[in-house]
Symmetry: C2
Subunit: 355 residues, 2 copies
Amino acid sequence: MDIRFVKREQLKEKPDQKNLGFGKYMTDYMFVMDWTKEDGWIDARIVPHEPISLDPACVTLHYAQETFEGMKAYRTKSGKIQLFRPEMNARRMIKSNERLCMPAFPEDMFVEAVKELVKVEKDWVPSEPGTSLYIRPFMFATESALGVHMASKYKFMVICCPVGAYYAEGINPVKILVEDELVRAVQGGTGFTKCGGNYAGSILGQVKAEKMGCTQVLWLDGVHRKYVEEVGTMNIMFKIGGEIYTAPIEGTVLPGVTRDSIIHILKDWGYKVNETHLAVDDLMKAGHDGTLEEAFGTGTAAVISPVGEFVYKDDIVKVNNFEIGKLTQKLYDYLTGIQWGDVEDKYGWTVDINA
Amino acid sequence: MDIRFVKREQLKEKPDQKNLGFGKYMTDYMFVMDWTKEDGWIDARIVPHEPISLDPACVTLHYAQETFEGMKAYRTKSGKIQLFRPEMNARRMIKSNERLCMPAFPEDMFVEAVKELVKVEKDWVPSEPGTSLYIRPFMFATESALGVHMASKYKFMVICCPVGAYYAEGINPVKILVEDELVRAVQGGTGFTKCGGNYAGSILGQVKAEKMGCTQVLWLDGVHRKYVEEVGTMNIMFKIGGEIYTAPIEGTVLPGVTRDSIIHILKDWGYKVNETHLAVDDLMKAGHDGTLEEAFGTGTAAVISPVGEFVYKDDIVKVNNFEIGKLTQKLYDYLTGIQWGDVEDKYGWTVDINA
């Protein structure tokens, strides 16, 4: 892939690495490529991060034909910069696009675009413990037309921002509201994709959870309102009676890259991982009878997010005395160890941006 | 509401009224207003229809916090320009926004914005039979931030385009595929709103229907995959054994303005209207035993769209010998008569833009 480069006049000042937050500072450049029905993917370019111009009738502003991915670049102690399983994000975006009737952005081009952009932005990859460069590939329809249809023009873009340590003051377990009215996804819908509509529809659940003094919402399945699916924008896993339980990938749950990695590791560590439908009643029962040992969300942003409490209707269960569980901590240390290059990557998951 | 006006240097040439199509020609101006957490709705303005500038990190391009409405302005034979139940669109957008955690755009401001824009664009309201000015109010988040959250900045806009007669060569019944895999909406989700995500998720069903030689897709409910909900982007009604059946407004089906108007008229005409769950098996059975007399979609674009055939798995039923039914035709003539001012509006549904 030939990538055209447009230099920016003046580079931005880099922010204080101890105060990065999430998504507050966009880097200097972005990767852009256009798709048309006639020409396919054309004009790969790395250009200054600047506003884009869209006609008010642009399909994306009305019918949300848009998908995205989220991934990170990590700086190791030796100064090397590495990605984590970027091909998984590329493949998932292809699946998302299929469901949304959007053209595929090929896997090899996806990984190359990300690598080349991160190379250009290497000075933006922070080195403070726990920090990383968040990478956001996304794609959306650019055609202007008011009929609901498969658009004939798209843009694939990658933007980046340095992000702080997710747990600035150590990992804190969170309180979770089990949502029994609002639904995130249903079989036959778009739940397994990273499409904009899934996220717009989820905000109300999050707001409701916060009003109830909870940090996140735990979604139940849309058909029976019974089986545990995802928490907020993460997958969720439970350790019950020594075994691991998590929702299966059957069309409603996002096939998380962290989820997949954690399952691999757990199996290697000898755990039985049940990718199965866990009823919320059984979860609460396990919480009360003491067999629910640990619970944690998995996702790119936090990697592992321990759950300290579940609130479901009038029932509340505490998990592991509202402390991070041993296995949760061990998984967090091991996986972030691989990502930041402190632990040997025996799975071959990390990819040097210069390789 | 004070509306600032920015004149455009040169007006566009008006297109041939006999060849308008749908959404091909945008008018000269658009209405715009901004919302911020601090100031609420500010800076109402009618400005030239021009591209808008968005940061690539704009929430709408990633999480689809966006809603829209669709309505029309009609030119009567006497030259008067009128809207059809604009307050219904205003109220529905408020409901959509509530679900998407977006601020309400007040009903009176909504109607005023539409009226004032149409007044400015009065020469764009076509006069050929069956033509109208399509009006698209829409709202979307403009904040730039990559965290999933309720945005702090929004834009409300109204754009317009003259549209041709929906049935250039008379009303033709269409062939409909009953979709039994893909799902449009489920209780607890966003089905009752006009949010972008609903439409992005529906395109695949439409593509599938077209591949099967059908014009539209008929969606079943997401829980049982059994009850008839909507067809394409319209509500749907059935005349079975002399009575009318249509899906109830319970969270999954769009509360259509045309749907509501048709139900009013039907009741006035003495029909029993059952807003109830009709199983697709019962629909097909009624098709085979001859009690299914008529079927039609209702929506702003086509007003009434007669169904000539349903295809469900291996089963096919023809409706009224693939001809438009008597009641369907009568409803179409009566409602479009009111809209274009040829029939007395005893319901007070039409609103003169100068009133």
